[in-house]
Subunit: 346 residues, 4 copies
């Protein structure tokens, strides 16, 4: 075998569903492709999907923000000079966007956040990036901005194209607070009898376990902006099946489950403030990825960004299906292991 | 296309290397398989690998701890009863291991850590698991332990098989502090002239950028036990190519780069306290995975655990290669984007 | 006024209570001194105290662990040498305790935890320290241990008496996970009618607000091992009144409120895993401090450590009183501000 | 002794200095009052202060942001309704400020940040508050805003006056990222010979220890936006002496030391992004507080906010003095303990 030949790592993949989605972006039933070595994930997500089809509004999905970020690192003479340069830059968004426009048709600078540490400047540039997740687009935009900034502000010095205040693929708080990727909230209202018959649990038990495990348990583990059982599993499988940079499950998996008993029924929600997905760009040229995106309806002729938001909505709903199913299973002693064993024996 | 058929998601994969490893576990040159949509990763890791072959000891790898964990969640009458039950359980490791032995030939309970919150008990059971990463093994062990505990301590109540104090696939502090997976440290000493000629940088620039980007930048981003540029990318690609549960890059990517100028040369180290890998178990039956593991020498006839430690060592060295290469690139304005563009045009 | 004269900053102080305590350490009613500029704290804690006297068991307090820590920072040749030195040291607890004994009658080394980063060694030495909070005692013990270690392990080098892995007065996760100070849990069961009549709220409202504010709210704020409304206020006031090093409210305030509706009544608990207090030592020679400690019954003739545990128990109960009162107040729109205004007008 | 009488807790206090300050706010030498039980702090800060007088520009202080926050907690029907309400509110800053104006002459709403979790709304209201630290001012403003919001948006429901996304007196990331209190940066350039003669260290040693202890050590401890040795000590002592709510050292102590060798000299900086201080308001009516504030020149006739910024600048410089002194001491084995012993024997 020659070392430098491009080979393939074929990951097992299955379509799971259908699940039922509603909300401001999407109203339909659809199945999703999940590529993973952890094949018990398929029936687990499948169970959640079936539940959604039994609920009046299914999974209500809201996509309430989107941006991709890159934090460049510059140095000034001292902290006050750093502050003044930042203030000046923030007041010149139009000038900056002119430079950005030369790097891409789609990138648009929408906000700047910053930190000053001693004389160091961490400038978090925040862009909309159309249907792309936007990693390269914002790096390219930053690469155009840096020489312009250094010319306009000759007392500043280059330190790095990325100062880790972006933050890309790290467990940080900044992405949730300032935004990175799509901010997706998925909600479902499940009648009590469906919880009892299909999940072999009760709304009270699920709410209780969410508090003790996802909220308190993660918190005492020293968790950071995270309260869920296994967002990471669904994200990985969905990302691999749709050509996403799956290392972004690091920030994507930092999200919160909030559940509540409402009039005896179960309100269950998954908030994903940092869901990074794109329907075009790197990883998307591969045949099976194209097919999957098309089948998900995310390669249709829509305004820039709409296909990516649709993809984010579907991804979020998939996370909810898997999360609901696992939490319900863990309310019953022995159920988790049994289902793993059954699956593996198949 | 029928929904429930098992399909494949073929991820592009390439062997990269060779890299040179040394240390208490391994002394050889070898290449590694990396499966990823982010193909610029290949030449990036390849550059680091080449550097390693030019250094006297190559990448020195130490694997200094290993364990897999599951935290069960129980409830007592009050906090003091919770405390007393924990104290009693900690004093009965032999009894517990008898129960564990019924669940697996390989699992061995080596430590228990705990937290009490009100009357809740979070019991973090820590096992060695042979050559398996051990997720299912510890779940199964916990599933055997729970009924035994509830019988022996009838005043305790079941709450969950997992209380998120494990912590599996979440950004937390507990894994780094108490251990989960292999604790791997990789170190390299690179002569100044190699840094200058091959990385187009200097030891001073690389040390400086590590401080400002990885240490300070991640910290102000609200990072948690994390100071690196892109561990996640190498982990994902290595995990996919070797049949690992890649969602474990969440905790795996929480690690620290420490660099130093030593007598004019560059000391560069990557510490990975939570590297979860296995050479057997789930995901390993697939043909290309078996081939890759064999070619890496991780399916040889060794004592239980030795193949997995070898795999962890190789994985850690791969992370160092990619990390070194990116940090060096970012010391030069424009270099990162240029190399991405070159790669994509190919 | 001459600069170097020792002056006084007289902080307003009031005794608040009585509150009712029960549990394995203490069964009595007592009042507590609180010194603070934020005088609305007095009636707030007072309200919680009154509630406790109306509950059958009052506030049940458990003190389930105690230790004080200092993390020295050493360097080895490489990571593996670092690991081997640590393993050797952990196997020689008796030898180490001989050295410790020369530094203090009370300090006793009970555990060692460690981290290796590259070739750096962070050695977290954990001691019991009798009735003292123990900051100086452990620094002194470490100061005796360091030369001994450097002699026994001549390939190690000194880097610092403190490597911040202790961690003293910083917001970290290590203290909660490995322990620092007393681990105190306070619980109370409040009959529904008392919640309604005295707190003008309901068990359901208080449980609900604890989830949404203390658990979810703190978590999305990027909180670290923290889920409470204002532990810090009670700790500061109690610390100042009893001669404690009040900068330790940093770690002391990292704790969790867990509340639950039980048979229609309110279960409310405050867990404080890092409560650093001492009944002797620095800050204790001052007259009013001595008087306060005596009146609290924390200067009685008891076995070493018992007075400090008693003090920790009382401090924890005080935190519960204030926390309960504020959470209850915030369930009612306008109540918080109104009570502040009333207090300030007095 | 009657329980409800107001007593006093006289904390030992000393004026320390003079220190030399420069920058956009202040150019002078002055001493500072420090009230603490930890009296070795006085000579420690004193040593740093003396160093500052030997440096050409002394301590250069920049105050680059200020705000006080309160996060109210509301509920909507679902996430999308939550999002729409937030968007509408953010577009009505003038309307909101009209309501705020009724609550205070000084409070001015300058920004709103938000989080949506399921159907929950965390609305972080950010105000300037003149010379007051502003806790009560923003609570009062929020208390006026809530009924107005509930009237204008009748589909929203009250949940709490504070949702912990503020975040007051908790170890979180949000305050550093979005701002709370004054954002203060203090920098000093110390000639090598002064470092050697006065601090018995070298620039290289201090830079090195800052990296290994403050940056790496805190990070592996699971630290959150924190990299310093003991900010908390100086803050506590300064806060008590100037009538501040000292529980705010929780967020105040989350800051970063960045040090560098520059042309052989030592650049040493302390960044404090969350320094909460006020020159008027609660705690300020007490005689010794008034005297201290006057002597610090923080009760002069200036535009609203200027006295508080001056106070923040002085506080920040005090933190730098103590931090520099301790870090330098820890570069030398045994020095820390020795100085404590000397102090206590006095």
């Amino acid at each position: 075998m020659k070392t430098h030949k491009i080979l393939q790592a074929p990951i097992p993949m299955r379509w799971v569903g259908p699940m039922k989605l509603s909300g401001h972006l999407i109203e339909e039933k659809l199945s999703v492709p999940l590529a993973t070595y952890e094949t018990p994930l398929w029936p687990s997500v499948g169970r959640g999907a079936r539940i959604s089809t039994l609920c009046e509004e299914g999974i209500k999905v809201s996509v309430i923000d989107e941006r991709m970020t890159r934090s460049i690192l510059l140095e000034a003479e001292d902290a006050y000079a750093a502050h003044q340069a930042i203030q000046s830059l923030k007041a010149r968004m139009d000038d900056l966007n002119e430079v950005v426009a030369k790097s891409s048709r789609f990138a648009k600078l929408i906000d700047i956040n910053s930190q000053v540490v001693g004389n160091l400047i961490y400038l978090r540039l925040e862009f909309t990036t159309g249907d792309a997740s936007g990693h390269n687009m914002v790096t390219n935009a930053a690469d155009h901005l840096i020489p312009w900034i250094l010319t306009e502000y000759p007392h500043l010095q280059y330190s790095s194209i990325s100062g880790n205040y972006c933050s890309d693929k790290k467990a940080t708080a900044v992405n949730g607070i300032l935004g990175r990727g799509k901010y997706v909230v998925c909600e479902i209202l499940i009648p009590r009898d469906i919880v009892e018959r299909r999940l072999h649990s009760t709304p009270e038990k699920i709410v209780d376990l969410n508090i003790k495990k996802n909220l308190i348990g993660t918190m005492i583990a020293g968790g950071l902006r995270s309260a869920n059982a296994h967002y990471a599993n669904m994200l990985l499988a969905f990302y691999l099946a749709t050509g996403q940079d799956a290392a972004n499950i690091i920030e994507g998996s930092q999200g919160v489950v909030h559940a509540d008993v409402r009039n005896g029924d179960l309100y269950f929600s998954c908030t994903l403030p940092n869901l990074i997905v794109g329907s075009v760009g790197n990883g998307k040229g591969i045949d099976f990825v194209e097919e999957n995106l098309e089948r998900l309806g995310c390669r249709d002729d829509r305004e820039p960004g709409a296909n990516a938001r649709r993809l984010a909505a579907i991804c979020g709903a998939t996370v909810l299906c898997g999360e609901l199913s696992l939490i319900a299973a863990q309310t019953n002693p022995g159920e988790l292991m049994q289902s793993h064993l059954q699956m593996e024996r198949k």
